[in-house]
């Protein structure tokens, strides 16, 4: 394929970038965010936490190694709304790939734009903060496209987990031979999290986002896992309540990303929308308990209030982000519950934090 069709990327503040269309021809709007990872585009696009977002990949080439169905997908389909990159490769090189990223996007109805100075765009977003944006290969008039952009809802106060969550409960792992039953709350879970849990002897039942606590308990789980997911944690009162009940049950609980924010909210700590979030595979985190550092995969636009955490009688900060000193992990002093803001399952990203799954298993073991 030769990219010939022009496309337009328009930001809420009126900034426009012209480039070439990729993926499906069409129009797509969402919140714009950038990811600085140099590998793992397919995992990013299928991560439900990116639901409804337009992802800017800062690495200079995208598509080089094509896509691999299933093995490198983090959920059943592409979750992002649109993609922006510098150079797009329709030609790919990998013997084990299924097909090109272009074909993948066409099949998934994803609109994208390439030949954009993503660095300029990142510098802009870094200055101005996150905002909504729209990509179109149909409407190339800025004024007309702005009208479309206005229809895109704002992320703040948006509840999206129930949109990406499973509608029916399902099981992961084998019951026979498993050591613990872990109830997984699916607010937009990634496959690799479930893989990490089952590999450590957890038999998982994955529940739809809005499942009430009592219904979860009927399965008689040994512990709880609170997943990652898209949207504003403050808009998920139902989940905050469920998590609070889970914590108080005294059974081990582990939360990742949104799950971390929900544990904070459930402990009475507020969350806030960040200026432009953390998205990349190179975020430095220090474990304050061991003194060791880990390079982490991150993808979040909301964060936990640091002062409220430090002053909380029953919550302890266990991990901090070394770049901006934001809270990267917490634990309850009164209950076996802990969570991290980043993604220990990685996919994409470094495996430095896999030990957290071991710690969860140890906690289950002790309980």
């Amino acid at each position: 394929m030769k990219q010939t069709q022009e496309a337009l990327l328009l930001l809420e503040d009126g900034t426009a970038y012209r480039g070439l269309a990729l993926g499906k021809r069409g129009t797509a709007g969402g919140e714009i965010c950038f990811n600085t990872g140099m590998t793992g585009y397919q995992e990013i696009y299928t991560d439900p936490s990116y639901y409804g977002q337009i992802v800017v990949n800062t690495t200079s080439h995208i598509g080089n190694y094509g896509v691999q169905l299933d093995t490198e997908e983090e959920s059943s389909n592409v979750k992002i709304k649109g993609m922006v990159c510098n150079t797009f490769s329709d030609d790919y090189s990998r013997h084990t790939a299924d097909f090109s990223l272009q074909e993948y996007f066409e099949r998934s109805n994803i609109v994208g734009i390439s030949n954009v100075d993503t660095r300029q765009l990142v510098r802009h977003v870094r200055e101005k903060g996150v905002m909504n944006a729209i990509i179109s290969s149909e409407i190339l008039d800025e004024n007309q496209l702005m009208e479309e952009l206005k229809k895109v809802p704002s992320m703040a106060g948006l509840e999206l987990s129930s949109v990406v969550s499973t509608t029916e409960p399902y099981f992961m792992g084998e019951e026979a031979g498993s050591r613990w039953r872990v109830a997984v709350m699916d607010y937009g879970i990634k496959k690799s999290i479930l893989k990490n849990l089952t590999e450590r002897g957890c038999y998982c039942k994955v529940f739809p986002a809005q499942t009430p606590f009592e219904e979860v308990m009927e399965w008689q789980p040994d512990g709880f896992f609170i997943s990652n997911g898209p949207g504003d944690p403050a808009a998920m009162m139902y989940a905050v309540e469920t998590v609070r009940e889970m914590v108080e049950s005294g059974k081990p609980l582990f939360g990742i990303c949104l799950g971390h924010q929900l544990l904070a909210e459930a402990s009475g700590i507020s969350t806030y929308k960040m200026h432009h979030g953390h998205r990349g595979l190179n975020h430095p985190v220090k474990n304050l308990i061991t003194g060791l550092c880990e390079i982490t995969s991150q993808n979040h636009g909301f964060s936990v209030n640091a002062d409220e955490t430090t002053n909380h009688p029953n919550v302890e900060v266990t991990h901090i982000n070394l770049n901006d000193k934001t809270v990267a992990g917490i634990r309850r002093k009164d209950h076996p519950a802990f969570s991290v803001q980043y993604h220990p399952e990685a996919s994409p990203g470094p495996h430095d934090s896999h030990y957290l799954f071991d710690e969860f298993a140890q906690m289950l073991e002790k309980a």
């Binding site: 140099m38 200079s60 190694y65 510098n86 660095r119 595979l281 060791l292």
Partner: protein, 947 residues
């Protein structure tokens, strides 16, 4: 753990003279380490016998020892410090390549460190032993669960034969404990095995070789790691080799970040890298690990581990902006990564992994032309002498820029009329990699060879090949138009793919200036982006830039903001090659620092990733760009400096003078007219004649007929050479008409449209050279050196002494007087080097070069005075000769020792002549002329005299 308070004084071991496989990347590492340690209040002592390095400058260390890298000198230094009551507490041997590690190991075995209570830091002896001993390494990797090639160590010929029988062909022979793969090789057929095995066993100092399964054609990667004392790891950079397994990494075109690695494979590699580094020993510092990936299955095996700062770490530092050596030095004294700040952003943590939003391509620079008869094929043994790096927003842009940087008389990758069209030759080259394979891949696409056959012959990943194919497609599109009707979008596309104006001009059949004018007219803008380690996620505090056309042309985001300070540009010397190496980088760095002292904002332009000059800490602004007219001119247009310094960056910088002058850009110091006068033998000789200074009879010709004619009046022997070259390129002494004709034809073929110089050769003469600095009105001779070998051997390949050892005072006075008069007559402002031949008491001037010479750093080191600094201030008009209080430290003699890399080219004629062949030099101080070393070299001189 914070800084270790017990370490107050550290010895850093350098890498010695430049040889193939160990070049100025270790000057960069050593300089950074020394600065980094001194920042911490630590006293730094430095041992290195290479005088041309910045690391051995007084600006860099508290105590510099220009001594041979031998045990006895280490002992001498340690004892001196102990006696003075300021003992050395620790030694850092990881900044000086394999040479420094080997010396540290020797001293360890001899118990020297223990005796003087010196702690070895940044290194684990076990790790060195494991990684250097092929068999121990293989077993260790298997123990760590890392895949390795099948194979075993052979300690005898018979054992080697047995192993070969076990694993079958093709296989590889890797001798233990050799540098840059010396003596190793691939063996495809049983009949070639015996000879290769014998060579390998001979090359290894321990007579051991690893006979191993060949993974030729697999993909090759490198990771650069850092670990602190707490066990925290980070990967600074992933590097992918464009050339698959089979070509030494130092000879491979390499790309960062890795282009064709999915996250799953990359993370497996990262896990493996961390496991390996942790498994081989415990040390805080840098480590380089090479991997190979089976393209069919994504299986990974470990090829090699270097538990130290390496050539690749210099590349990774320049590629990402992350200063590996600087941080590694801090970790060696106890700091943990999370206690340090990322020096590029100045705000975020040093514990993080750089993310880059551009591509870098490194292309090696070879010098096979200097080694007649050398095996030019690339394999396990490194043969390149230097490298250039291109930075672009996409692979193609970076690739074209790297090719524009090479100084091989090409304008980039193709589109310059120098393409090869012979299908058979191209095919052969694709399958047998040599220095020009990259160009032949391009040629193959251009003549229409199928993608499949190109891939089959080269085994290069199809993604890379497709990128080159796409270049040809773009060229075809461009060629459909004339300059007048070429659409803006298409011209922009070509520029975005890195095409130089000259290449586009070639495609359109017009002049470069027309293309330049066209892109200005169409408003096609080149902008400068920052290398910031973090893909713009955080604001950067370091002014390190590269250019690109990949930006929104309506509203381009130019990150290089021009200040209102007065500025000066210093042009660098490009990739290292024989005749133009680290000496010129030394001068550039001093030029930058001197101009800063004189109140200028300094702007460095260079494209050599190994050097100190491309350390963004040196200049106020670094443009990592080809020293290629278009790039230089655009930077000048953007920055509008007061002028440009061309005297310091060797021939690369000097040859820009003509165009700079033509475009009305001020050349700082000696004018273009004077520079040109020195190159124009006719005018220069006329000047000498007017001044009554003798010179050998000479003439200039452009054809072989004219040469023969001229030879009759000059008389044989004759020295024949092309004009405007460095390092005696294509220079030859001929003794009869037949030889003369042959050589002239060869020069005309290699370098068309060039004047050829014929000099009467003064047989048996003594050569000497003088370096001077001048303000235009007064000149000062900084040093006179006498060559030990007689005339006929290139000055770069001769041993020489400072001051002369047997010239009479009268002759030295004549040399000084001539040099001064020439400097003033030419109007030199800055540096001047004059070469002399002395025969029968007559002093002849052979040539004068109004620029920094190869000997200037040597004199600065020997006399302990910063002459390049002085010269720069003279150029800028900031100071006069009379402002300096010269106080050279003159004691005994300093001998310049040329160092060769002939062991890389076993079949090459090692005889020396007028064409330079040495890759580096050492310095050796003697107190009197009865010195054993001097007498030995002096004795050999007679051998030359008697020929």
């Amino acid at each position: 753990m914070p800084k270790n308070p017990n370490i107050k004084s550290i010895l850093i071991i350098g890498s010695g003279p430049i040889v193939i496989g160990q070049a100025c990347e270790f000057d960069y590492a050593g300089s950074q380490a020394a600065r980094s340690l001194r920042e911490e209040g630590i006293k730094v002592s430095l041992i290195n016998s290479n005088p041309a390095t910045i690391m051995t400058d007084p600006i860099n260390a508290d105590h510099v020892y220009l001594l041979p890298l031998e045990k006895k000198y280490i002992t001498q230094i340690l004892k001196e410090h102990q006696d003075a009551g300021t003992p050395i507490d620790a030694v850092l041997p990881t900044m000086g390549g394999q040479t420094a590690l080997n010396l540290a190991m020797d001293c360890e075995k001899a118990g020297i460190w223990k005796k003087y209570g010196v702690e070895l830091i940044g290194v684990d002896i076990r790790a060195i032993e494991t990684t250097e001993d092929r068999e121990a390494f293989r077993l260790k990797m298997l123990e760590l669960g890392a895949g390795v090639c099948q194979g075993r160590i052979a300690r005898s010929f018979l054992e080697g034969k047995e192993i070969a029988q076990e694993i079958g062909f093709p296989l590889v022979i890797r001798p233990s404990y050799t540098l840059g793969g010396t003596g190793g090789g691939f063996v495809d057929k049983p009949e070639d095995f015996d000879r290769a095995l014998t060579n390998g066993l001979h090359a290894s100092p321990t007579h051991e070789v690893l006979v191993e399964q060949s993974v030729m054609g697999w993909k090759e990667y490198e990771l650069e790691l850092l670990r602190d004392g707490n066990g925290n790891f980070i990967i600074i950079c992933s590097i992918e080799n464009f050339d698959p397994m089979g070509v030494h990494t130092g000879d491979s075109i390499t790309v960062a970040p890795a282009m064709t690695l999915p996250d799953t494979t990359y993370q497996k590699m990262r896990d493996l890298a961390i496991r390996c580094m942790a498994g081989i020993g415990s040390f805080a510092g840098g480590c380089n690990i090479q991997f190979s990936v089976n393209p069919e299955t994504d299986d990974i095996i470990v090829i090699e581990i270097n538990p130290r700062v390496s050539r690749s770490s210099a590349l990774a530092s320049k590629a990402t902006g992350y200063p590996i050596a600087k941080i590694a030095a801090k970790m060696a004294i106890g700091y943990n990564l999370d206690e340090l700040t990322n020096p590029i952003t100045g705000t975020t943590s040093a514990f993080f992994e750089p993310s880059i939003d551009y591509v870098i391509v490194k292309v090696p620079r070879w010098n096979f032309d200097k080694f007649q008869g050398a095996d030019r094929s690339l394999g396990l043994q490194m043969k390149s002498v230097g490298e250039a790096m291109g930075i672009g927003r996409n692979f193609q842009e970076a690739l074209q820029k790297a090719c524009q940087s090479l100084e091989i008389r090409r304008n980039g990758l193709g589109a310059d009329g120098r393409e090869l069209r012979d299908q058979e030759k191209i095919k052969h080259s694709l399958a047998h990699p040599s220095w020009d394979r990259l160009f032949h891949i391009y040629d193959a696409f251009k003549i229409g060879l199928s993608f499949k056959s190109i891939q089959k012959l080269t085994k290069i990943d199809s993604w890379f090949l497709r990128q080159i194919e796409e270049l040809i497609e773009t060229e075809h599109e461009v060629q459909k138009y004339e300059l007048d009707d070429i659409p803006k979008a298409l011209l922009l596309k070509a520029k975005q793919k890195g095409y130089a104006d000259r290449q586009i001009a070639h495609l359109l059949g017009v002049k470069e200036s027309k293309v330049y004018a066209k892109r200005k007219e169409l408003g096609i803008k080149r902008v400068y982006k920052c290398v910031d380690t973090c893909a713009a996620e955080f604001a950067a505090a370091t002014p390190y830039y590269y250019s690109t056309f990949n930006t929104s042309q309506e509203d381009p985001d130019n990150e290089s903001v021009v200040s209102d300070k007065k500025k000066v540009v210093v042009l660098g010397s490009g990739p290292n090659r024989i005749g133009q190496g680290i000496e010129f980088d030394y001068s550039c760095v001093h030029g930058v620092l001197a101009a800063k002292e004189a109140g200028y904002e300094t702007i460095m332009i260079n494209c050599n990733p190994e050097t100190v000059s491309t350390d963004p800490d040196i200049s106020d602004k670094l443009y990592f760009e080809p020293v290629f007219w278009e790039h230089v001119f655009d930077i000048i247009e953007h920055e509008k400096p007061e002028g440009v310094i061309v005297q310091l960056g060797g021939q690369t910088a000097l040859k820009m003078a003509e165009k700079l002058d033509k475009y009305g850009i001020k050349i700082i110091g000696t004018s273009y007219q004077a520079l040109d006068l020195a190159e124009d033998r006719g005018r220069f000789s006329k000047l000498l004649q007017e001044m009554d200074i003798p010179y050998p009879k000479f003439g200039t010709v452009r054809t072989s007929d004219a040469a023969v004619e001229l030879s009759r009046s000059l008389g044989f022997p004759l020295l024949v050479r092309p004009s405007y070259v460095l390092g005696g390129q294509s220079m030859k002494i001929v003794i009869n008409e037949q030889e003369l004709e042959q050589h002239v034809v060869k020069i005309l073929h290699d370098i068309p449209d060039n004047n050829i110089l014929l000099d009467h050769f003064l047989e048996g003469a003594i050569e000497a050279e003088a370096d001077a600095i001048s303000d235009g009105e007064d000149a000062y001779i900084i040093g006179v050196m006498e060559h030990i070998e007689p005339a006929g051997i290139h000055s770069g390949d001769s041993h020489a002494t400072l001051p002369p050892f047997d010239l009479s005072e009268e002759i030295i006075a004549t040399i000084e007087e001539y040099s001064k008069r020439i400097a003033l007559a030419m109007g030199v402002k800055g540096l001047l080097n004059v070469q002399f031949a002395i025969k029968d008491g007559v002093v002849y001037v052979i040539e004068a070069n109004p620029r920094a010479s190869r000997t200037v750093p040597f004199i600065c080191k020997a006399y302990q005075e910063p002459y390049v600094n002085y010269a720069t201030k003279l150029m800028l008009g900031d100071k006069k000769i009379s402002d300096f209080n010269f106080q050279p430290v003159k004691k005994g003699w300093a001998i310049k020792i040329p160092v060769f890399s002939f062991n890389k080219f076993p079949n090459v004629n090692k005889e020396l002549g007028p064409e330079m062949k040495s890759t580096g030099e050492g310095i050796f101080f003697i107190d009197d002329l009865q010195d054993e070393f001097f007498l030995k070299v002096y004795g050999e001189r007679n051998m030359y005299m008697s020929r």
